[in-house]
Amino acid sequence: MSEANLVLFKNIHIQGQNTLAVAQQQGAYKRMEKALGMSGEEIIQEVKSAGLRGRGGAGFPAGLKWSFIPKDDPRPKYLVCNADEGEPGTCKDRDLMRFDPHLLIEGMIIAGYAVNSKQGYIYIRGEFYREAEVLEAAVAEAYAANLLGKNILGKGVDFDLAVHRGAGAYVCGEESALLNSLEGEKGQPRLKPPFPANVGLYGCPTVINNVETLCAVPAILEKGGAWYSKLGVEKSSGTKLFSVSGHVNKPGNYEVELGIPLKSLINDYAGGVRGGWENLKGVIPGGSSTPVLIPEQCETILMSYEALAGAGSMLGAGSVIVMDKSTCIVKAIARLSKFYRHESCGQCTPCREGTGWLAQIMDRIETGQGREGDIDLLLSVCSNIQGKTICALGDAAAMPVVGAIRHFRDEFEYHVKHGRCMVD
């Protein structure tokens, strides 16, 4: 892990890093200057060769996404930073924004230049009010230093950037819902295709990247795509921020290379499981929508996109939620079902009705009112949601339920049969 902590969190612990003066002492905007001397195509090639994949959860290659923006199109192009961090367990982007906002701004200027965008927006979840203040102050500083605006540093490049606060809707983390929200509408997802690269904000070509993705860009420009691609493992290159929360001794956001063993992440970085490794019950590896892993899997699993998919789960946003043996898995999943019911936008019937069913059935099992056949009913409801909705929120609601029943069916059955938890 020698070169981890050199990409995203390199300067995060430096006092005053949120100010332009301190950030520039650490080299901020030097990478941008370099980038503005390159062609957009060269930058995209560098990011492609880095193998950088979107850090918001889907893992789509960033350089490839940028290359989808049509070149000879007279419409304005937009760059939107998805800072609507809201998946339970996820809180990494918040640290990047509040402690190193200029890193994000620099990444956005480079990305904007690469795709010929002259206007960027940072869509930040509304609850992050103080973080939005920090970003706005950093944006104002960047404007005053001609790092944003017209003719940046006399290089003939224009790029404007604005911070836009959301208002408390998890679904707005879905990129097309985010665009609707940014246009002043209800944050309901759009049918795709057309994809935002062609029809995005205001019907124009739009790139949407997560905060963490954009923050990785300056280092890639500085040290090269080849250097970045050597970090991590094949197909999952680079470093990743993991938010480790729940029953660990040292919860926190940790930057490590992708492909690190989960056990090492928990033991060597997050201080180990409360009560020792033997006390581990399960780990949700990538945020609330990703299916839970059992201890046998946690012994050997690597934190890469491929390894977690192979284990029937997902890397997601890298949000590792650790549960020790005191946890009632039924109650944990019931809590998540309540969340998805609350956050369904109501547009698609399978999701609107299905998330309500899931929450209701999970709640009655958890409170000892479970009926015979409820577990199969849950699976049936899940199969009627999955793949049948406009966006992935329905899938996100179903996956943790299916995953928990796969591994902990006996606990669900005990709940139904005895009307109480086997953990109590």
């Binding site: 809180c91 918040r94 609850e127 509408e185 929360s245 919860p251 609350h342």
Partner: protein, 170 residues
């Protein structure tokens, strides 16, 4: 939609109107509706921490939008309060990471201290207590938000202490 009407017809101060102009400037001139979320947030701050029907109508008129466009947005997002809230809005996160780390105890301690349940406001109008979904501070769980500020790594004792300090200031 709330039945409670404010005492006077709402209108932005000159200062707030200047802020509205700043907000408009972030978006293309012909895409003014993009400013709706931030302008509603401003209205909530200007008009006592919540959005009455009259406040929404005012925003609609100000922005040249049909009132329904404003209502549907105001009712979609959880951060717009459609009924009055206390001076301090205590929002306790009880989602998974906070729950694993003891948010039940935080909620109970605050309920006991304020003598109200989730969804209620103290009689003096000083505090409203809400249960909310993930606030994105999971590695510093358990936590709550009061107005614009996060309070993290709470214990029942520190949670009550924070409430006491605000109560004494009020």
């Amino acid at each position: 939609m709330s039945e409670i009407a404010p005492a006077a017809k709402p209108a932005f101060s000159q200062e707030a109107l200047k802020k509205v102009e700043t907000i408009y400037n972030r978006y293309p001139a012909d895409k003014r509706q993009s400013a709706l979320l931030p302008v509603l947030d401003l209205a909530q701050r200007e008009f006592g921490g919540w959005l009455s029907r009259a406040s929404m109508d005012y925003v609609a008129e100000l922005m040249g939008l049909a009132p329904i466009r404003v209502y549907e947005v105001a009712t979609f997002y959880t951060m717009y309060n459609l009924k009055p809230v206390g001076k301090h809005h205590v929002q306790v996160c009880t989602n998974i990471s906070c729950w694993l780390c003891g948010s039940d105890g935080i909620g109970e301690a605050v309920k006991q201290r304020l003598e109200i349940e989730y969804g209620q406001t103290t009689e003096d109008g000083n505090f409203t207590l809400s249960e909310v979904e993930c606030l994105g501070a999971c590695v510093n769980a358990p936590m709550f938000q009061i107005n614009d500020d996060y309070y993290e790594n709470l214990t029942p004792e520190t949670a009550v202490k924070i409430i006491d300090e605000l109560a004494n200031k009020a």
